[in-house]
Amino acid sequence: MALRLGPLRISWPGSEPKDPYWDAFINRPVSDPRNLTQEALRSPGGAVNPTRTDLHSPEITSDHLKQLATFLGAELVGVVRLKDTEPQDVADSESYPFAVVCAVPSDYDPRTALGIGGQVAVRNGRFLTFTLAAYIREMGYRATNQLPGDEQRLAAAAGLGTLDAREDSLPRSAGPACMWQTRSSTPTCRWRPTGKRSSVRRDERRQT
């Protein structure tokens, strides 16, 4: 029951009807994995554009990639030079000298919440890395989102946080986060997050 005062509607705390289907949405594993959108976004994408786009200086290019990633849904973004990481990733660093690491917020832990709702952060991360890698390729530089999962290590190297004792998750202030990486040959530089948001303000936040 909600209190109505003309156009105003004020809900009493705890008075909203319970959603009997929500738990299944978050936790029930899918019967057909093709119904998960992230499976469709596993694609390696297309080729590198042979015509290169004129870029700004590496610091500014890093900042632009961060702005794009933030606009596409990342909460934290860092850029790391693979040669600087420990252990050194020499083979990959020749093709893709840089990694753009993004943290996507998640209300549930995708490792345990296997329903479509629980996997939303995975879907958002795949969309983000697919688009970021595709953008870099369309600018004429190599980029891939098809890499083994060492995002946590790279995220720590990029300064997004410090690894916990088990070295398998990066502590975050509120809830778990999904880590994603795109490796690229775009001339960028190491970029540590400063907490500065994109220069374009978002005037509203979604309410769920």
Partner: protein, 451 residues
């Protein structure tokens, strides 16, 4: 309201040929009465259901709009790398780099054989709306399906109308799949201030990509519940009106309560999942559009009518000239992909703040006969405070609308790159944005309609 019937002018085939051909459908039983689409749109006569192959993009793809337009649509590489990725797959260096293309090529899942029982459609509707919002929707509504809302055949997910016609009669489809879910995304407000610029394109295209991801996820979820979800069967605007998502404005766009005209209204999901449909809403758009005409005044191609509503294909509404709107594109593609002027200047498209809500609520709560006065007051206030057209300078990701169209300059402080094509960093002073083309340029080749 004095509605006039639009008549084709002999010899002017492309401008007047309707998008609909064939015989109007005859519906009886529960579908004999037309659906309630609110105050802005009324079905007043027989409606011919539009064939997807008769809509603008497929017609252009077949070359019906001339070689320049066809080449622009099919063979052009976008000037902007971000537009190549987020825009149509035809404009990328490699179409596989476009997320929508990856989504469309991926196989779809099957319907879960174990169906979730739905005892309370109201509870399921609340759940589906909450799910859609959680999956990324900014606007969600549910409509009852009616044959007049359907297309004659299916529009494919890339909008090319491939995939063949749906063999079932439209009324039968509406009985089988009685509900339509309208779920879509809004464009970033600050970015569309740079309409007629790559920044505005980025807002528009990215939200389209996000809407595609959202619909695909929602489709997958409905299948996991054990029900069918069909995409590409429905005119999204008709469903949005019936669902109460918004009202149709003079600019031919759905104007929503929270976001104004800045929402994508692309595809919908038709389903047999038991739901409770919504009702049309009254935001005062009918009253405001009668007076305002801001979109018609600022449209660079004069595609928006200054006059009254017309009856077109049995539907009384404000009708835009889609062809003149479409035809500007080859002239401007160096500077932008999509115009969006009618979206940005609409007084309903404002930041989602308390004063915007207050203005809409004051209009909604005013009795209809007295609304004219309120609208005039609101419009005068809007013109004085907000201006007729804002020309903001917007900077985002290295794009800068303060650089005049045709000029090249890097305005980023601290950039040390040796820009081959336009030298070192340029200085741009002031906070004025430049948006190509100006109205006076296009007035030369697109005639304004008679008031």
């Amino acid at each position: 309201m004095a509605a006039t019937t639009e008549r084709p002018t002999p010899g002017d085939r492309l401008l007047t040929e309707p998008l609909t051909q064939g015989e109007p459908g005859k519906w009886d039983g529960e579908f004999a009465a037309p659906p309630d689409l609110g105050r802005t749109v009324h079905i007043v006569g027989p409606v011919i259901n539009v064939k997807p192959s008769d809509t603008p993009h497929p017609r252009n793809q077949r070359g019906e709009l001339g070689p320049v337009m066809m080449s622009h649509y099919r063979n052009r590489l976008s000037a902007d790398p971000l537009a190549r990725v987020t825009g149509g797959a035809n404009h990328a260096a490699d179409r596989r780099n476009v997320p929508t293309d990856a989504l469309n090529r991926a196989p779809k899942g099957d319907i879960n054989p174990v169906r979730v029982a739905v005892d309370d459609p109201e509870a399921m509707s609340r759940h589906i709306k909450r799910v859609a919002q959680y999956l990324g929707a900014d606007v969600v509504g549910i409509a009852r399906a009616h044959p007049t809302m359907l297309t004659q055949g299916r529009v494919s997910e890339d909008g090319t109308a491939e995939g063949g016609a749906e063999p079932e009669p439209l009324d039968e489809l509406c009985r089988k799949y009685p509900y339509i879910i309208v779920a879509t995304t809004a464009w970033d407000y600050d970015m569309i201030q740079a309409h007629r610029h790559h920044i505005g394109d980025a807002a528009y295209h990215t939200s389209q990509q996000k809407a595609n991801v959202l619909l695909r996820s929602l489709e997958g979820y409905i299948k996991e519940l054990g029900y069918t979800a069909l995409r590409g069967m429905v005119n999204g605007q008709a469903a949005a009106l019936a669902a109460g998502v918004g009202e149709l404005g003079r600019n031919g766009l759905i104007i929503t309560e929270k976001y104004g005209a800045r929402v994508n209204m692309s595809q919908t999901l038709m389903t047999d999942l038991p739901l409770a449909p919504g009702k049309p809403i009254d935001l005062g758009v009918e009253d405001y559009c009668k007076v305002c005409r801001k979109c018609a005044n600022t449209c660079p191609t004069n595609s928006i009518s200054f006059g009254d509503k017309v009856v077109y294909n049995g539907i009384e509404k404000y009708k835009i000239n889609w062809l003149t709107c479409y035809r500007l594109r080859p002239f401007t593609h160096e500077y932008w992909e999509d115009c969006l002027t009618c979206v940005a200047v609409c007084p309903y498209t404002k930041p989602n703040t308390w004063w915007r809500t207050l203005a809409i609520k004051s209009l909604q709560t005013t009795p209809i006969p007295a609304r004219g006065l309120v609208v005039r007051a609101l419009k005068a206030f809007d013109d004085r405070v907000w201006g007729v057209v804002k020309q903001n300078r917007v900077r985002w990701m290295g794009y800068d609308s303060g650089i005049k169209p045709g000029e090249q300059a890097c305005t980023i402080e601290g950039c040390t790159a040796d820009h081959e094509d336009h030298g070192q960093a340029g200085k741009v002073a002031g906070e004025v944005g430049y948006y190509f083309p100006l109205k006076e340029n296009t007035n030369r080749f697109v005639k304004r309609d008679k008031v």
